[in-house]
Amino acid sequence: MDYSILVGGEAGQGMDTFARLLEKTLKRSGFHVFSHSDYMSRVRGGHNFIYIRFSDKPLYSYSSKVDIIFALNEETVEIHSAKLKENGVIITDTNIAKDKDAIHLDLIKTAKSLRNSRVYTTVGLGAILKYYGLPLEKGEEVIKDEFKDEIYRVNINALRAGYAMLDEEYKLETLEDDKIIINGNQGVGLGAIAAGCKFYCGYPMTPSTGILNYIAAHGNDMGIAVDQVEDEVAALNMALGASYAGVRAMTGSSGGGFSLMVEALSLAGMIEVPVVVINVQRPGPATGFPTRTEQGDLRFMIHAGHGEFPRMIMALRSPEDAFYQTARAFNIAEKYQIPVLLMSDQYLADSMTTQMPFDFSKIQIERYISGEEAITDEEYKRYKFTEDGISPRILPGKIPGQVVLVDSDEHDEWGNITESDEIRTKMVDKRLKKFEGLKEEVEEPWLIGDERPENLIVSWGSTYGAVREAVERLKKEGISIGALVFGDIWPLPINRLLELKDTAKKIIDVEQNATGQLDSLIREEALIKSTHKILKYDGRPFSGDELYVRLKEVL
């Protein structure tokens, strides 16, 4: 089984609440769920829609073919009817799209009789649960968790009324509910909190705001100072101050905000203060598509910041990956005293997906902070020359008689300004030595599909889901196909790629950008050239079925 529901309407019509209730009800019924929102940069009006797909098997992507269109207005019917599968139905209010072939229900009238016209979407939810033959109690349970008092009562009544409106079309068996449902932004936030992040700051910017919101919501409970900064210039500088003083610190934004952080990123490289920064990408340049998706910032993030200094970049592939990698990012940042940059995008950030519950016992907190043993000379040297370029780090205020001086000027081992050519060369070498360590640190990309594929896909980050679904489908057709999906992407791990290149007849680069940024990076780092590129830069994410079709064209 594999069903998909599209709900569409204007911003402000309550479709987010509807989607949340439906997603949770489906999850509580034991299904795998993948939900993707397509929304405009406005608070009211326009046309927004959400795909909610569910199955008894794991899902990695949304589906652009749907079984039900739940239309909150006429426009939804007009725009999306072509997406209906053969047996698909439109469910809508009696007074919407009257002349169209649809299941017309008294949604609004019923809601009004309950004295709350906004709950007509909950009436629809009841009808949809009944359509699939799902137990009413699952929906009731979710509503009980989500609402209180009068709002709870009116929603329960709306759900029950809707449930009574339809006959069962299917009789789906519920399964054991052993999963969580979470999006990429929440995965990042939860990973940061688990890793002991005590400082997070940011300026609201779609689609990164969800991380700021999530961490702020748990700030008091978990003891995390969250600051809404005046601008992103302040953000990274502030995070660096917090980290210098000894707490795990993070900031995040989307591309435009990250642009403003670039000066301070260079500072992080120079002063060797660990920090984690996330860029939840959206299509640029400039304001671009504020609410849509792209992987256009890879090259930018590799090179952001004046001067030469080491950094590590991790692309996040799923909410689960976001959780574990974000936590790992803090360890690497502190081990090497560098900025670790995370890359997500609107698609990963906003898509609600079921995942196996995260295992917090797998999170290790490794801080690499020294005590008195770091004072080998009379005075502590913040930038002591060492074999691997990493100087022992102590925290200001912790060792009487010792001070910690960090400096954005070129500096000597104590952190004092220097003009010396000799020290300059040694300091540059010291900082860049850490990059050699990072090359050992990076994890090879995930390999999906055949172990020695004739057709090898290369991709990164959030395209993982669509790539995985497309590969599995093509494999079933007997095609020799596999994919490398990069998570750690700078320094670029190339061993697995080198192993597979000789047996691969075709190398197909799949990215959500216009210039094939991973492709060019692979050429540069591994001297391997792809044979085909499948690029998408319309601001909309690949679905598994769309990518399948595009892969068929080149296979």
């Binding site: 969580i180 979470i182 929440q186 939860l190 909190i193 688990a194 002991g196 400082f199 748990h218 700030g219 008091n220 978990m222 003891g223 100072a225 600051d227 900064v229 005046e230 210039v233 302040a234 953000a235 500088n237 502030m238 995070a239 660096l240 101050g241 917090a242 980290s243 210098y244 003083a245 707490v247 610190a249 000066e263 301070a264 500072l267 002063i271 519950p357 995260f358 917090f360 016992s361 999170i363 290790q364 907190i365 801080r367 925290l395 200001p396 205020g397 912790k398 060792i399 009487p400 008689g401 010792q402 001070v403 001086l405 960090v406 400096d407 954005s408 000027d409 952190g415 004092n416 300004i417």
Partner: protein, 282 residues
């Protein structure tokens, strides 16, 4: 005196006001019996911002205009550190203007000493945000065409709880202001006049000396309107001293878990503490 602060050889020009400011700072820290490891100086870039290199304390010498954001991060991370910001007029009121405004709004416990010589020194004599309109400089050949920033009035408008002005040529007076500012619970702005002996031929030592006067003994520094008047007095006579000082809740104290617990830097970290957060995703 508990501790004598070590000083290092500065690269300031002979006769620079920064020397006197450093002398006052050293004396203030010693008289307050603070040890170097308990103090952090955050600074930006400019001649003033070199301070953490010339006196032995913890130092975060960051980017031009960006001295305040790291100072905020430091204070939130470890409330036990005494955080001082040393920066110039260009650093604070020009490149860092936005941070200046919003740091005042936060009222975080930082003492901010602005070395105000009304000119750009390190970049060789261009106008700063506090250079007088019409003053000719190495860049503004026919005179500055913009109104100068009035930092004290601006700080008062934004709701600062501690606003003062000092003069590098009056060290005993400056030491007292600095001590008050460091002890003040909240954001304390001290704009300190200093001559730039190389680039500012208008606002010289003599120029300041002729104009500055101590606020009278009976001056009521809790009266905001009076403080505004004094802040705008910038002609033949310019008052120095604490123009305004009132108690206000600090930014860090508005976080209950910071106020009522150990510094964030001292908290035990355990990933399992966060496991309960999975609840909302079930």
């Amino acid at each position: 005196m508990k501790y004598e602060y070590e000083l290092y050889e500065p690269s300031w020009c002979p006769g620079c006001g920064n020397y006197m400011i450093r002398t006052a700072l050293k004396q203030a820290l010693e008289e307050l019996e603070l040890e170097p490891h308990e103090v952090v100086i955050a600074s930006g870039i400019g001649q003033a911002a070199k301070m953490p290199h010339y006196i032995k304390v913890n130092g975060f010498n960051g980017l031009h205009g960006r001295a305040l954001p790291p100072a905020i991060g430091i204070k939130l991370a470890n409330k036990n550190l005494k955080v001082i910001v040393e920066s110039g007029d260009g650093d604070t009121y020009g490149e860092g203007g936005n941070h200046f405004i919003h740091t005042i709004r936060r009222n975080i416990d930082i003492a901010h000493f602005v070395h105000d010589n009304q000119i750009y020194g390190l970049t060789k004599g261009q106008a700063s945000p506090t250079t007088a309109m019409g003053q000719k400089t190495t860049l503004q050949f026919d005179g500055v065409k913009m109104e100068p920033v009035q930092p004290l009035a601006l700080a008062l408008t934004m709701g600062a709880g501690f606003v003062a002005r000092g003069f590098s040529g009056d060290i005993p007076h400056l030491v007292e202001i600095m001590k008050e500012a460091i002890n003040y619970k909240g954001y304390a702005l001290v704009d300190i006049f200093q001559p730039c002996v190389v680039w500012n031929k208008v606002n010289t030592f003599a120029w300041y000396k002729e104009r500055v006067y101590h606020l009278p003994e009976d001056y009521d520094y809790t009266n905001r309107e009076e403080a505004f008047k004094k802040a705008m007095e910038f002609g033949d006579k310019i008052p120095i001293g604490i123009l305004y000082k009132v108690e206000k809740e600090t930014y860090e104290d508005k976080f209950d878990f910071i106020k009522n617990g150990p510094p964030l830097v001292d908290r035990e970290l355990d990933p399992m503490d966060a496991e309960k957060l999975l609840e909302e995703f079930i």
